[in-house]
Symmetry: C2
Subunit: 321 residues, 2 copies
């Protein structure tokens, strides 16, 4: 096999993280640029291309860079477009043909694009704990809840390229308002933001209960984990509640695609057993007997700081150089 | 393309329907045998093989029969086994290597096996309204609720071969006991049996309400449709309730695989607009804006009497003759 490199770009609302990655999933060089200082997509893509050209030339590589993988909010794998991404200032209410724009400014280098959770799934399958798995579901627990579903070794993109939005499956009938406009979404409860919301709601609902969480001005999900580690009852209950909702949702996902494993990734996953215990309990209670205690719950095998770049870069290996 | 025929076998708890099918999905000859008169699988498979041999010789075909497709409860596509099928007297608490047993008694003819809902999905994709579709979800509304999920043109079988059990997704938290052992399953509410259960529950809960349903000794789902057609308020409400549950569940399924269409099949689908209106309303209210009013709701394009045979037979075309 000839030696090649690929680029991975993890595009977020604040920054774009860029890296050069080899076939083993090692990041050889990386850089970060801001992603919210341009008013239009043209300006941003030009600046990104400059950043990537510089990254390549500074790295003094011994082999060529052959493709680019991009993980971006609302990124569509089929069309290469970023569609109405509210978190990207230059893509609000717009369809941006991002892949073709970037490819053009990178001397025709092929660009593959999908959303960040799908990119994470590809990364996990290429380099992480899902190596060798043909059927698994990646769940990213960060500010939001994302998902990447792999069936028969391929990411499920669906008819329109937007499949795998498991963060917006309803888990509480007529529940909390979610940012997407729906009510009771998994994301409204089980993201970092959702956990903090639960804490604030419960503090108000139980004014007399003593808890470490009451000492915080603005409770975050991190405060909840730390309080849980210190044995705080309310914090433990919040993680139990969060894990139960996740576990019940996972049971539905299992009924859909019968995955070998569900792989967790992201900040919330750091809550460890406080979260996995209630997840496994609810999941195994809510799933058909044929799957009880048979579906693995795993943590991502990629280092958190590099995972997004590695995941995005893994998309680019699909191009036959 | 050379001329060949395939056999389709629709295996149920009471009968096995068998037919010879051509490439156009026409049933050239068919027969039915009982499936519950044998104590062991060996006896039943031998009798089935005799029936199939006779069906073929009586049909005086102008070309050879090259493969067999079987739709069976708990049929596993990967292993060819029927696993712990409570409705088949000779397969209770047993794993029956059905495909290989039948193949052996059919002079080595290849046998493909899956559950009936997956077979229906293959049939719909090969001959029905899903022709040309790469991503759709088949929902069978009969005594139970079954599903066959097609992603990228292939049925989703999952890691173990049992994927697509959407009848056992929870739609009512801590709801009705389902036959599977779980509570609140879609099947417990939206199957024919579920609709009749709703009617009986509501009749008891609203003793003073006048309704045509009260005139029935043992209300069935068919009674509910007929009363709805006659304008009966409770019957209409029952179908509205049933459709809403289906619609909300479908919204979750769409978030998973972003299908082009959801295809309904089976007796309950005959309720027509009484069911599709509330389904579409709830589905479009519960789904992310990107899919609102974009996912089609279709009825099966196969004639109900032949569909199960045709669906099963379609499995056999995967063999390269």
């Amino acid at each position: 096999m000839d030696k090649y490199y690929v680029l991975g770009v993890d595009l977020g609302g604040q920054t774009a993280k860029c890296g050069i990655v080899n076939r083993e999933g090692e990041v050889l060089a990386q850089t970060v640029m801001v992603s919210n200082r341009h008013d239009d997509a043209d300006g941003f893509v030009s600046a990104l291309a400059d950043t990537l050209h510089k990254l390549i030339s500074d790295a003094r590589l011994d082999a060529p860079v052959m493709g680019i993988g991009v993980g971006a909010p609302n990124g569509n794998y089929y069309t290469g477009e970023i569609r109405h991404a509210p978190n990207l200032v230059w893509a609000r209410n717009l369809d941006i043909p991002f892949a073709s724009m970037l490819s053009e400014r990178m001397d025709g280098m092929p660009v593959a694009l999908t959303n960040d959770a799908n990119a994470a799934a590809v990364g996990e399958m290429t380099y992480g704990v899902a190596r060798g798995m043909k059927n698994f579901i990646m769940i990213t627990l960060g500010t939001g809840v994302g998902s990447g579903i792999v069936v028969n070794g391929d990411v499920v993109y669906g008819h329109d390229g937007f499949a795998g939005e498991l963060g917006h499956v309803c888990v509480v009938r007529d529940g909390r308002q979610c940012g997407c406009g729906l009510r009771g979404c998994l994301e409204a409860y089980c993201s970092a933001v959702g956990v903090a919301r639960t804490a604030r709601e419960w503090l108000e609902l139980r004014p007399d209960e003593q808890t470490l969480l009451r000492l915080r001005a603005e409770v975050t999900s991190k405060d909840v984990f730390e309080a849980a580690k210190a044995g705080d009852r309310m914090a433990l209950e919040i993680l139990d509640f969060t894990g139960s909702l996740l576990g019940r949702a996972f049971a539905s996902f299992i009924a859909f695609s019968a995955p070998e494993a569900i792989v967790l990734f992201g900040g919330l996953a750091r809550a460890g057993e406080f979260l996995t215990k209630p997840i496994l309990k609810a999941m195994n209670e809510s799933v058909l007997p044929i799957w009880r205690d048979r579906v693995k719950l795993l943590y991502s095998g990629l280092s958190e700081s590099d995972a997004a770049i590695i995941g995005a870069s893994a998309l680019a290996w699909k191009f036959n150089f």
